[in-house]
Symmetry: C7
């Protein structure tokens, strides 16, 4: 299992052909890469300089829209994931 640190989130990126499922269509300039996915795991939150832990808003199971070029790709158990900071998540698709 991947346990993300801080405010990092593990996202399973939506496949390109699913791009219009759920009503989301990204603009043409973003066609090469999907910007939506499902949260697999979320870190405990960022700890600030005051020792405060900022709780996460997203949780496992959420469908999220994230900034282009955000995160780091990893493969785990044959599936490709994106490790991304919550601050790069734009919105939750409800």
């Amino acid at each position: 299992m991947l346990k993300p640190l801080g405010n990092r989130v593990i996202v399973e990126v939506a496949k390109e052909e699913e791009k219009s499922i759920g009503g989301i269509v990204l603009p043409s300039s973003a066609k090469e890469k999907s910007q939506t996915g499902t949260v697999i795991a979320a870190g405990p939150g960022r700890v600030t300089d005051n020792g405060v832990t900022i709780e996460m808003t997203v949780k496992a199971g959420d469908t999220v829209l994230f900034e282009k070029y955000a995160g780091t790709e990893v493969k785990y158990g044959g599936t490709e994931y994106l490790v991304i900071k919550e601050s790069d998540i734009v919105a939750i698709l409800d």
Copy 2:
């Protein structure tokens, strides 16, 4: 539904031909892209390093003027939206 995170706001950008509606005329250099729109949804506000949530000023239904080139475009249900941070909103048009 798009639920924006932090201090992000979902804006439906005003169409170019509506540019002079409500008395707003943007200068010629900005003609290619509208800088006004209607807020569809607003995030809960930015959480600072002290764990304080800075409440949002704009709310759904507000007409706003925002900085040029601000935000990220997304399409949802056939409509194009702009996801923008409140700090890039210049003024509310009342």
Copy 3:
């Protein structure tokens, strides 16, 4: 009405021919663009990371001197305004 957000201020820029009115003469390098104007509306103030609102010093009616190239131009009701942050205002002309 334009209601500026945060520490933004709506300024009606002084016309070039008014440049020497009130005794202010700007240096030659600034002749292309006036750096003085009248405050039309002022935001509620910047909210800091501690949740403190820093109150504004300038208010509607003040004549102000601002930094060159500061702010964003908008037209509203046929008049051109400058939306500017208070931190880019140099001095109040009293």
Copy 4:
């Protein structure tokens, strides 16, 4: 013994041929350098400007996934280690 300072962590980098052990396969662009390893020692944590020590999440024995190009390589007792900041550790592999 190497005692890392602040939020630094001593990592024994996984050998290239172990790359698929535990189910982790990194994408082709990362093939030149492994991004996983075992924590040998962890510092006491970063001390912030408020004098607060931010406790470490990773501990000796953890298998971790870290950012590409992170850290400084050192050899100690014939083994090559990576000294890396915890903020450059993406996730713990559990």
Copy 5:
């Protein structure tokens, strides 16, 4: 009257021929522009993110030495002034 905002200071720059008055001789590389002057008016001080106003050290009448290239030039009532931040003032000449 010019009422400077924040930690800004209005300075009447010393004329070039006064450069050696009071014993100050600036190095040759600074000969094009005087770096000393008299404070005409001082702002109330910078307000920090904690809502604290940092009181000014310089006051009207002080002779000050400031960093090269600091500030913004304005003319007021026929006299040229420099509007400068206190943090760009190096020392008070006593």
Copy 6:
């Protein structure tokens, strides 16, 4: 005597021929310059914006491993030292 200020540390750099003493062998790319040394004197610690002094971890006599290119070289009493900030010290060799 050299009394370092803030979080600075005076280090006597290990000679190149001592590079493998204690089991430390640095990678080939670092061969031109040693990255280990002995602490001769340590400052009182960095004072933060809150007036807190962050106590030093290293002390005189410690053998330390530091970042490449860190610090400023000085000679004192015929010996060459490196003045380095504690934040550039990677680990203590115990």
Copy 7:
């Protein structure tokens, strides 16, 4: 008299021929400019965003070693001084 502001320090730079006095010999690359001097006057200390004044460590009379290229040169009463921030002072020579 020069009264430095904030954490600035007025230093009388040691003459080149005094470079080896007191046992300090700077490396060849620094030969063009002395990096040691005597403190003539020290400011009251830097005021932080919390309104805290960070007291100065150096005082008039101290011999100090400072970073290369630090500070601003001024001449006063025929003597050349360096105005330098305490954070650019490396160590006190005792």
